[in-house]
């Protein structure tokens, strides 16, 4: 409480004279930050987005219902909605829909967490410790250049149809993007900030924790968006290659029965999951990067 009033005093101290004048003279009209304009802008954007959707989906529906596209091969929006409905109400061919989503999400999330943690830790370690970078740099380059998705088959053979093989594939897919960003972010840290912290008495570890990590976070967080996409891909492909459950398995089953609508419906579900994750990552980003300057309020540059 005390601190609050104190801060307020400070803020108003300089403008006492102005406030006094205001009380006597006519009130000064300050332009209201344009709330209404923001709202209107938002409406325009959403309206346009809706229009794009209507054109795409409507066109698709129209082409299939007029016979230009074969709905059995290409699927159709109304069929996809129908398939989603049956899945939700009656479950899928391999169990309830919720269960499939849970299985896939579990694989993706566990792999994502392990993969990003490994990526961040090793990226910063190699960025900070030159010897490590020299020793492991070439290995990482080679590993990164092979088509890692093929490892899915290897893992299924080695670890079976369960959770482990999917999680491993996700880790392998997620790791590299996060690693390279963390590594680069560590290399790009302002030398001045490190020197200044060292002079103020920071140990090497304190510099890593309090200077390098926050600075590299801008880079790391940028990679998380892509990394979560890779996590979903890893889980789905892993299930596709060999599994008993999950959205990937569902897609495979749908493909096996020439059920185009089923494949599309699974994709819709994945898109919703990805959007939710994207929203959460953006929230995290906003929280962690609070210290960054906000956008200029002037014209778009």
């Amino acid at each position: 409480m005390n601190a609050v009033t104190h801060g307020a005093d400070q803020a108003t101290a300089g403008s006492t004279a102005a406030t006094g004048a205001e009380l006597v003279g006519t009130p000064v009209v300050t332009p209201e930050p344009s709330r209404t304009r923001d709202v209107r802008h938002g409406l325009v954007v959403h309206g346009l987005q809706l229009a794009v959707l209507v054109v795409l989906l409507g066109g698709w529906q129209l082409l299939t219902s007029t016979g230009h596209l074969d709905p059995v091969l290409f699927g159709e929006p109304s069929g996809i909605v129908g398939r989603l409905q049956t899945w939700i109400t009656q479950g899928t061919s391999i169990g309830s829909l919720g269960q499939q989503i849970t299985v896939t999400l579990e694989e993706a999330l566990i792999g994502f967490l392990i993969g990003t943690t490994l990526g961040i830790v090793s990226g910063i370690a190699l960025g900070r410790i030159k010897l490590l970078a020299e020793v492991f740099g070439p290995f990482i380059k080679v590993l990164n250049s092979i088509p890692r998705i093929v490892l899915g088959s290897v893992f299924v053979i080695m670890f079976g149809l369960g959770l482990e093989s999917k999680v491993l594939l996700v880790i392998v897919l997620v790791f590299f993007g996060v690693f390279f960003n963390a590594f680069q972010g560590t290399r790009e840290v302002d030398r001045n900030l490190i020197a200044s912290a060292a002079i103020l008495g920071a140990s090497k570890w304190q510099i890593t924790r309090q200077v390098v990590l926050p600075s590299a976070f801008t880079w790391i967080i940028a990679s998380l968006h892509v990394a979560f996409g890779f996590a979903l891909i890893g889980a789905i492909v892993g299930e596709f290659i060999g599994s008993q459950q999950g959205l990937g398995n569902l897609i495979r089953a749908a493909q096996g029965t020439f059920d185009a609508n089923g494949v599309w419906a699974a994709m819709v579900i994945m898109a919703v999951v990805a959007l939710l994750a994207e929203y959460l990552i953006t929230r995290l980003e906003k929280r962690l990067l609070r210290w960054r300057p906000t956008q200029l309020s002037g014209p778009d540059l």
Partner: protein, 282 residues
């Protein structure tokens, strides 16, 4: 806050800083060596305020990095409190030429950073940080992030951040050069009164000769680079406390100014010819 991990205090009379024919060579991108400073001799006594002036590129910042231990001398000796410098010198504060406060820490956390790094308890560190924030005139801005401050305010944060460690040596690299004239004069006065509190030895690099004379006990003029070194040292015996805005009208100040400027001008011209490759009409 006196728990500096530095050596037991040296015998009285040991200078705070001694450079003995210190030379610093840098490796340039094309592989050749560039001598930034050559055979530099400099002594700064404990509690002395020393200003260094010299043309751009003569090695002023390099000199400070040698004293702080951020760079190692290629030749010669650098002693701090009589001990050779190896690694980061403890008990030294450094205000960099560019902003170096942490953008992701609030003003309060930035100022408290030094004590926190050294393992002082959080509550103690924050209390003392609040004190120093008030002393540098930033009370009320504790929760701001650096990007929400003006350039002058960021310099104040950097000053508080260094002074809170009560360094026995304070290195300042053109700390106020980005500020407007009025703010600069105000901050110079504040610096002098803060300096009076703990009396560290100060090495203050500047391009502004007036500022140098107004603040310092002695002004060191460096020769133009490459291989800058001390050209001349001038003692400033103007009485303290000084008011920076007024002292420049005193006859003694004006005399000294002319004297030092004569020495400095030759070097500035030389540096100008070197960097532009043209002769100067002066």
């Amino acid at each position: 806050m006196t728990a500096q991990p530095s050596s037991p205090s040296p015998p009285a009379g040991t200078p705070a800083i001694q450079l003995m024919s210190a030379t610093k060579r840098f490796r340039t991108p094309n592989g050749s060596a560039y001598t930034a400073i050559r055979d530099m001799d400099l002594i700064v006594e404990a509690g002395e305020f020393c200003a260094i002036v010299g043309p751009t590129g003569c090695g002023k910042s390099t000199t400070l990095t040698l004293v702080s231990g951020l760079e190692k001398a290629s030749d010669g000796r650098v002693l701090v409190h009589g001990e050779p410098v190896s690694g980061i010198t403890p008990g030294v504060g450094f205000m960099f030429q560019n902003d170096a406060i942490l953008p992701w820490k609030s003003v309060l956390d930035n100022v408290a950073a030094g004590p926190r790094f050294r393992g002082v308890a959080k509550a103690t560190a924050l209390t003392s940080a609040r004190d120093w924030i008030r002393r540098v005139g930033l009370a009320g801005f504790e929760d701001r992030y650096p990007h929400q401050l003006s350039g002058g305010m960021r310099k104040r944060v950097a000053l508080a951040q260094n002074l809170i460690n009560e360094p026995r040596i304070l290195l300042m690299d053109e700390p106020f050069s980005a500020l407007d004239v009025q703010t600069r004069a105000k901050m110079s006065n504040e610096l002098l009164s803060l300096w009076d509190l703990t009396k560290p030895a100060v090495v203050f690099v500047t391009h502004d000769l007036e500022e140098a004379i107004a603040l310092a006990d002695k002004v060191v003029v460096m020769t133009a680079g490459p291989g800058g070194t001390v050209k001349a040292t001038f003692r400033v015996d103007l009485p303290r406390p000084r008011v920076v805005q007024e002292i420049r009208f005193e006859p003694a100040f004006v005399d000294l100014y002319h004297q030092i400027w004569e020495t400095l001008r030759a070097e500035v011209d030389k540096a100008y010819v070197q960097t532009t490759g043209s002769a100067v009409a002066s």
